[in-house]
């Protein structure tokens, strides 16, 4: 029995370190290769030794697919390909390919230069690793080898995020990566066609949440910023460099444009500029509005947003600053925060979740006095706001995607076990499909019944069509033909053609059967009785009484002869060819029941 096996090495009942092994029809594919943000030891990367203890990874994996550039989906890639050793193809979309190395390099810098880790991958390794990448376009079907093909769908999570369909023959798996079903200011919504995969592997970050309309949040955000700026205050928005930052930039930029505002907006420099460059380039990956208007003006060519300089923080007057990192734990955002925290006119807006222990988390939980290094106490007078902008699908969105793809079964990853449980139950209840949620290292085996395509010759098909009405999907039809299995291809041809092709002579196969009847009359009379009996029953068939005393039903011959020993018994000889097996056996059965009593 063929099956699909799925083993999450990461992201199984967990968020972070996404890495899922799928083996489908003998092909092994690795989906994503991420790192875990919560760990700094070996656990931060997936355990690749699970795949093979002492062989080369390349021999075991047919390809690696990266869904998007977030580090929890691609962070372990250089380690995997260069340090563990993998030389096969790595597939990702063009924007991911462009932005991924920037983030990896940044990650490496922090790990090696700041934390001083040894035995970490080097810049050269990142470059080497990226050389193995094959870029794919949306909806492009890429043949990895003769049988394995992959296809990318738009996922809308970040620029270049994609869902992948992995297909071998008629078996297929869809991996969603992270996706967003509600469009935002710079990206569209995820979309997939009704591809009916055997298995849909979906993220489930917000498995138990149904989110409010995005518009309220946007409106709130804009109002807050606008009011503060009008008061002459300064707004600090700590962000991570990529993803949400761009959305907020677009949001503020268009708002500034619409409202004719003059206050400056700054963006702390660094990797953002490089990334923004790519946002400008990959216009086709953005949403409808940006795609439609980029001829007049590329929305990412910000008019109001300028690069930030350290000195600007002390400038008088209102301003808005986007600064990294997003949790206010270090770097520029913290510096600016310290400068501005004392003024109640100012405001800090936290657009995302903050890990416990960071300054961001402290101020969000209402702490007004912060102890900084050197026993300094910082009094926070500025307003603190929280706005959640997240680009994951909520429970409704996940269900919507499942409904769109119509999979045979669903597998949940990238979420917390408890929440998955709820969604799993819902999916099973509402779509009546199996739903799995394996933990890391746990293998799910999914039996499949692959359909085997058989080519049918046109002549045969036409002959069949001529015989009956149009094919009806609701009723099965019987068809005579010869199945030729040759070089792993299946063909159904008419028997004449098969004989010709194989160079065989035709053999007639006849079945004969004797049926004994108790009938004391003469053979001819018996034959006549048989004839009239059959005639009355088989109205649809051509029943003939031949002059030599035999009866034919279509091509089936029925002869009556006297029993050599018992004259009271007549022997009916029924003979039919192999093709008429159905009718022949029916006829025999019929005759065995005996003839009706003649009205004598």
């Amino acid at each position: 029995m063929p099956d699909i096996r799925v083993t999450p090495l990461g992201a199984g009942q967990d968020v972070g370190r996404s890495c899922i092994l799928v083996s489908i029809a003998g092909k092994n594919v690795m989906l994503d290769c991420g790192m875990h943000m919560g760990f700094n030891d070996d656990r931060r990367f997936p355990d690749f030794s699970y795949i093979t203890r002492n062989g080369r990874l390349t021999d075991f994996l047919d390809c690696v697919i990266i869904s998007h550039f977030h580090l929890d989906h691609c962070g372990a890639l250089p380690y995997f390909s260069e340090m563990v050793g993998y030389d096969g193809p790595i597939y990702m979309t063009h924007p991911t390919q462009a932005i991924c190395p920037i983030l990896l390099e940044d990650y490496r810098k922090i790990a090696v230069d700041k934390k001083g880790e040894a035995n970490f991958f080097t810049s050269q390794m990142i470059k080497d690793c990226m050389k193995k990448v094959v870029a794919v376009r949306l909806h492009q079907t890429v043949q990895v080898d003769d049988e394995l093909e992959i296809k990318a769908y738009y996922a809308g999570h970040v620029l270049g995020a994609a869902m992948f369909q992995i297909k071998v023959g008629s078996e297929s798996v869809v991996y969603t990566g992270d996706y967003n079903m509600t469009p935002d200011r710079h990206l569209g919504a995820a979309w997939i066609d009704k591809c009916r995969p055997n298995l849909l592997i979906t993220e489930s970050t917000y498995a138990t949440t149904i989110r409010d309309s995005k518009r309220c949040r946007e409106r709130d955000f804009l109002k807050k910023v606008h009011e503060t700026v009008e008061r002459g205050g300064k707004v600090l928005i700590p962000v991570f460099a990529l993803g949400r930052a761009q959305e907020l930039c677009i949001l503020l930029e268009t708002f500034w444009e619409r409202m004719n505002l003059k206050a400056p907006i700054y963006f702390s420099t660094g990797l953002t500029e490089k990334a923004n460059h790519y946002y400008k380039l990959f216009i086709t990956w953005t949403n409808q509005k940006i795609r439609k208007t980029f001829v007049q003006r590329n929305m990412f060519e910000f008019k109001h947003i300028k690069a930030f300089d350290r000195a600007f923080a002390d400038n008088p007057g209102p301003m808005v600053v986007f600064a990294t990192p997003g949790m206010l734990h270090a770097g520029q955002s913290l510096q600016i925060f310290r400068k501005w925290a004392g003024n109640e006119k100012n405001m800090v807006i936290m657009p995302g979740y903050c890990v416990q222990g960071t300054v961001g988390h402290k101020i969000l939980s209402g702490q007004r006095k912060l102890e900084m290094e050197g026993r300094q106490v910082l009094e926070v007078k500025m307003q603190v706001e929280y706005m959640s902008f997240s680009a994951h699908a909520d429970a409704k969105g996940i269900m919507q995607l499942v409904g769109q793809a119509e999979p045979e079964s669903v597998l949940l990853v990238h979420g917390e076990a408890k929440k998955m449980e709820f969604l799993k139950q819902k999916i099973e209840q509402e779509f009546r499909v199996n739903c799995y949620m394996p933990a890391n290292g746990e293998t799910v085996t999914l039996p499949t019944s692959p359909s085997i395509p058989v080519g049918i010759s046109l002549g045969l098909l036409k002959r069949e069509m001529a015989q009956g009405l149009l094919p009806d999907t609701r009723k099965p039809r019987l068809l005579h033909g010869t199945l030729i299995v040759k070089d792993s291809s299946f063909r159904l041809v008419s028997s004449e053609q098969a004989l010709k092709e194989l160079g065989l002579a035709e053999h007639q196969l006849r079945f004969t059967c004797r049926v004994q009847l108790h009938d004391s009359r003469k053979e001819q009379e018996t034959a006549t009785r048989v004839y009239s009996h059959l005639k009355s029953i088989l109205k649809d068939h051509c029943v003939q009484h031949l002059p030599d005393g035999s009866v034919t039903v279509e091509s089936i011959l029925v002869q009556a002869a006297a029993h050599s020993e018992d004259p009271g018994t007549k022997v009916l000889l029924v003979s039919w060819t192999y093709q008429d097996e159905e009718l022949g056996s029916y006829l025999t059965a019929l005759l065995k029941k005996g003839l009706p009593q003649a009205p004598s």
């Binding site: 409010d212 709130d220 709820f422």
Partner: protein, 964 residues
């Protein structure tokens, strides 16, 4: 006549013109034109290869065929068809047959037999499909003939089993267009004729080809459109199609479900997997709501649009569409909207958001949460958040329609509409503002909602701001803080965009008059009065101060206690504003001031209105004077004209009437003045110069009459007669003056004849109104008509002269509603000192933004004129899309005018103004005899011209010589 008709046939080759059918049939025999068909025959015989034949056919198809020769052509085509082996040629012939059978005046029943005949022997699927299309054309041409329809339906049914989707498509189309459900029509025993077309079509809902499925649904819809009642049974079939793989099938299925839900709204359908039953329209509503989150945006648009027209749906289903049932970590969560409402009702408005403010509350029962099949749940929330703006617009429109029919829903959807004011696409924002305006009588804005609405006032798009002002005009505000907020924001808007002045004032006018009681407590603060101290008198020219006053005065109109709060200067300012901005400041009953209105009861009807009375009286005074001495008449007229013009300025609602009458009196005054001239007393023909006044007067009267006729909306036939009469008088005057000033009689002959023709024309046009014109110029003229016809020009002139002097002044009946067309150019403002520089020979685009009031059909009448300093004038026709229609009777022109000129040495000003084009053809009542008489229609009816109706604006431009 015959030639005329033939021309028509040529022109309308492809159109169906029913009325001419019989006439042509009678002429069939006379007009034998062998050319066309014969030529075709020869061509086709000449053709050696299929490609050749195809070429000939293509050429042939380019030219129209007259109805008489259609049959001949058809015969030749058919003959060739039988011989032809190439399917592409046969296809072309089949398509030509269809085209020809649509020819007006040709009855295609004669070729039907042949068409059906060739259909039976045809093997090629494409040709078959084309032939069926031809049959469809024939069938639609003969809607009366039941037998033919039956036969065609029969043919269609026979070919439904064809293997090609194209043929099946066409068959279904044929069935949809021709099939009937009434079995009673066919009483014959022919069982084949009695077919249940609906069932046959319904069977193809499950065809294997999506195109055929779509065609089947379309055919079903076509049946519905033709007025046949669909069975309720197809509802279930259609519901199954909603989950089809193909978007066009789903899209059509949504339509079908909508149709059925409108046909059987009250039927009961069971809910699958439960024992409950609900109304069909509710079920359908839920299903269509579900399609709002379909994968294909085409379907989403379709679904969102249709939702708007399902008004019979129960209210709790409707309200579900706005509720997404939020939860977080399996706990019920309130939406931001609910929180805002709660905050507001708890009285602590504008608290900053706290961390965990949106913390989820109670636990949700996991079993009860339904993530998918929740029917209507959150459909609009999804629709309004959609990726494609087409879907969002459709959703906003649907919201609007549903809210108009259900006040409670209107209240609920408010939050969502307000949110849409922040959409990224301007069109969507505008649409949602308009929607809000349309439902505004059903709603009262909460303060926090108002806050969001007002935030949009800072939008840089003028369209948006104006739409918002329009919205505020008809909004209900609940608290005095709300009014204050609105005023503050509007003033902010005013300082930011001073050009919005008029719109803001108007908005405040309505805001004040709608909420007098809310404005009352704000008055001291707004006027910054102090109980003990006198405060500084505000600057009267400050637009912001005027805005405040407009608000207060309009509120004071229905709030008699308010004037007590005014300080002295406020009263003075009132008097000034009442005078200068009378359309914004109403008449008030102020203590210690005598006003005309104080004598009248407050609820005055327009006709008892003193100003209206005044108008009537002054007009009557004028009309009553008959035999005053000329000097006195002139003076009275001048006085009255002045009064009327002033009245028009003061009373905006009477402006149209006052101006209209003033113009008429002006004409009369000019006429009297011209006739008073001394030159008439001099016998000998005089030098040209001396008659300047008279001829100028004649010319001006002509112009004024055109203005009266075309610049006012609401002018009725009664007035048109008087206007034309006045014009006739002016023409007579012109004739007399010419006769006086030219030597020789020859040119007079022509003029006289023309004049008489016009009189004749006048008589024919207004024959019904002639009795009203007793004792007038034309009345007398017509009496003398026979004599005039025969007399010499000099004689005619003499008669005319005496008649003009004797004729009385006609009473101009006032129309009910009359408005003068006016236009104001907002942009360019004409104040810039910086010339617009451009390279000579190239063009520069000048943005023109103007508001038009009371212009009917501005798309065709309004033009932009550019006058260059060298006297060169250029008239630009704006595109129809450049006109917006922000409110009844108002239009907005936003267009670009391209300027170009050769190089100048220094910058100079060009003038830009708007013109109102008129065409006298349009106004004259169409009477049957005018069409018959071709002679006069050329003389008078085609007078075209333009009236400038806006102030001209000067634009400084500088074409620079091109650099080499």
């Amino acid at each position: 006549m015959a030639a005329h008709l033939k021309k028509r046939v040529y022109e309308e080759f492809t159109k169906v013109v029913q009325q001419q059918q019989e006439e042509i049939a009678t002429k069939k025999l006379r007009l034998t034109k062998p050319s066309k068909s014969a030529a075709l025959h020869i061509d086709l015989c000449k053709a050696t290869s299929p490609a050749d034949a195809l070429q000939y056919l293509l050429q042939f198809a380019r030219k129209p065929v007259e109805a008489e020769s259609v049959e001949g052509v058809v015969r030749i085509l058919l003959e060739h068809y039988y011989k032809e082996n190439d399917p592409s040629v046969r296809l072309k012939i089949a398509s030509l047959l269809g085209l020809l059978s649509k020819t007006a005046g040709f009855s295609p029943d004669c070729i039907m037999d042949d068409a059906i005949n060739i259909l039976q022997n045809e093997k090629s699927h494409q040709v078959l499909a084309q032939l069926l299309d031809t049959l469809l054309a024939i069938g639609t041409k003969l809607p009366e003939n039941q037998a033919i329809q039956m036969r065609l339906v029969d043919v269609a049914c026979k070919h439904l089993t064809d293997t090609s989707h194209g043929v099946r498509n066409k068959c279904l189309q044929l069935l949809g267009n021709l099939g009937s459900l009434e079995k009673s029509v066919t009483k014959d025993a022919e069982s084949l004729a009695v077919r249940d077309v609906q069932k046959i079509i319904g069977d193809y809902f499950s065809d294997q080809d999506p195109r055929v499925r779509t065609a089947a649904i379309k055919a079903m819809l076509q049946l519905h459109e033709r007025g046949l009642k669909l069975h309720q049974t197809i509802y279930n079939q259609a519901c199954k199609l909603l989950s089809d793989d193909y978007e066009q099938v789903r899209s059509a299925a949504v339509q079908l479900i909508w149709v059925v839900s409108q046909l059987y709204p009250e039927s009961i359908v069971p809910i699958p997997s439960s024992n409950e039953e609900i109304r069909l329209v509710d079920d359908a509503f839920g299903k269509i709501c579900h399609m709002v989150s379909d994968g294909s945006w085409v379907v989403r648009v379709q679904a969102a649009k249709l939702l708007g027209s399902m008004e019979q749906v129960s209210s709790h289903f409707l309200e579900q569409t706005l509720d997404k049932k939020l939860m977080s970590d399996l706990r019920r969560k309130r939406t931001a909207h609910e929180r805002a409402k709660e905050l507001y009702s708890s009285g602590e408005f504008s608290s900053g958001r706290k961390w965990g403010d949106d913390a989820p509350k109670e636990e949700v029962d996991t079993g009860a949460v339904n993530l998918i099949e929740s029917g209507a749940c959150g459909a609009f929330v999804h629709g309004l958040e959609d990726e494609m703006y087409e879907v969002r617009i459709a959703a906003v429109e649907a919201l609007c329609m549903l809210a108009q029919s259900s006040p409670s829903f209107a209240e609920k959807c408010l939050d969502f509409l307000v949110d849409m004011f922040n959409d990224e696409i301007e069109e969507v924002r505008l649409q949602s503002i308009h929607t809000m305006r349309k439902i505004s009588n059903n709603i009262t804005l909460r303060e926090d909602q108002l806050d969001t609405v007002l935030a949009v006032l800072e939008d840089s798009s003028r369209d948006i701001r104006e739409a918002l002002h329009e919205l505020l005009c008809c909004t209900n505000v609940s608290t005095k803080e709300g009014i204050h907020l609105a005023l503050v924001e509007l003033l902010k808007n005013l300082t930011k965009y001073p050009t919005d002045r008029d719109s803001i004032w108007k908005c405040l006018k309505f805001l004040g008059s709608r909420h007098p009681t809310l404005v009352l407590p704000l008055v001291p603060e707004l006027l910054s009065t102090h109980p003990f101290f006198d405060t500084a008198e505000p600057d009267m020219d400050d637009p912001a101060y005027i805005a405040v006053l407009v608000l207060i005065f309009n509120a004071a109109k229905t709030c008699p206690t308010m004037p007590a709060l005014f300080s002295d200067h406020t009263f003075r300012h009132y008097a000034y504003l009442r005078d200068s901005l009378s359309h914004l400041v109403p008449a008030l009953r102020l203590p210690g001031r005598k006003l005309v209105s104080s004598a009248v009861s407050p609820n005055i009807t327009p006709h008892e209105d003193p100003s209206h009375q005044f108008l009537q009286q002054s007009l009557e005074r004028v009309y009553n004077l008959q035999h005053l001495d000329p000097q006195g008449t002139q003076e009275l007229l001048e006085l009255t004209i002045r009064d009327l013009q002033r009245l028009g300025e003061l009373q905006s609602e009477l402006a149209g009437v006052a101006d209209f009458s003033a113009t008429y009196l002006q004409c009369q005054l000019l006429l009297i003045k011209a006739l008073q001239e001394k030159l008439w007393n001099v016998a000998a023909p005089l030098h040209l110069k001396q008659s300047d006044l008279a001829s100028a007067a004649a010319k001006q009267i002509m112009e004024e009459t055109y203005k009266m006729e075309f610049m006012y909306s609401g002018v009725e036939n009664k007035q048109v007669v008087i206007i034309h009469h006045m014009r006739l008088q002016a023409k007579a005057l012109q004739l007399i003056v010419t006769a006086r000033t030219t030597r020789g009689v020859d040119p007079l002959f022509g003029m006289c004849e023309k004049f008489l023709q016009e009189v004749d024309f006048f008589q024919r046009c207004f024959i019904a109104d002639l009795p009203h014109l007793q004792d007038s110029f034309v009345d007398k003229l017509l009496d003398l008509m026979p004599r005039l016809m025969t007399s010499k020009p000099a004689e005619v002139v003499k008669i005319l002269q005496t008649m003009l002097r004797q004729s009385t002044f006609l009473h101009l009946p006032l129309p009910e509603q009359i408005h003068k067309a006016s236009a104001t150019i907002i942009e360019p403002a004409g104040e810039s000192d910086n010339p617009l520089r451009f390279t000579s020979g190239l063009v520069v685009a000048l943005d023109v933004d103007a508001t038009l009031e009371h212009v009917q059909d501005p798309q065709s009448t309004v033009k932009v004129q550019v006058l260059y300093p060298d006297g060169q004038a250029q008239i630009i026709h704006p595109k129809p899309a450049d006109f917006r229609n922000p409110g009844p009777g108002r239009h907005r022109l936003l267009t670009q005018v391209y300027l170009s000129h050769t190089a100048w040495t220094e910058p100079c000003q060009v003038e830009v103004r708007l013109l109102l084009a008129y065409n006298s053809n349009s106004r004259i009542p169409k009477s049957p005899w005018i069409e018959g008489g071709e002679m006069s229609s050329q003389v008078e009816t085609s007078i075209e011209g333009t009236i400038p109706f806006s102030k001209s604006v000067k634009v400084y431009i500088m074409p620079k010589p091109a650099r080499r």
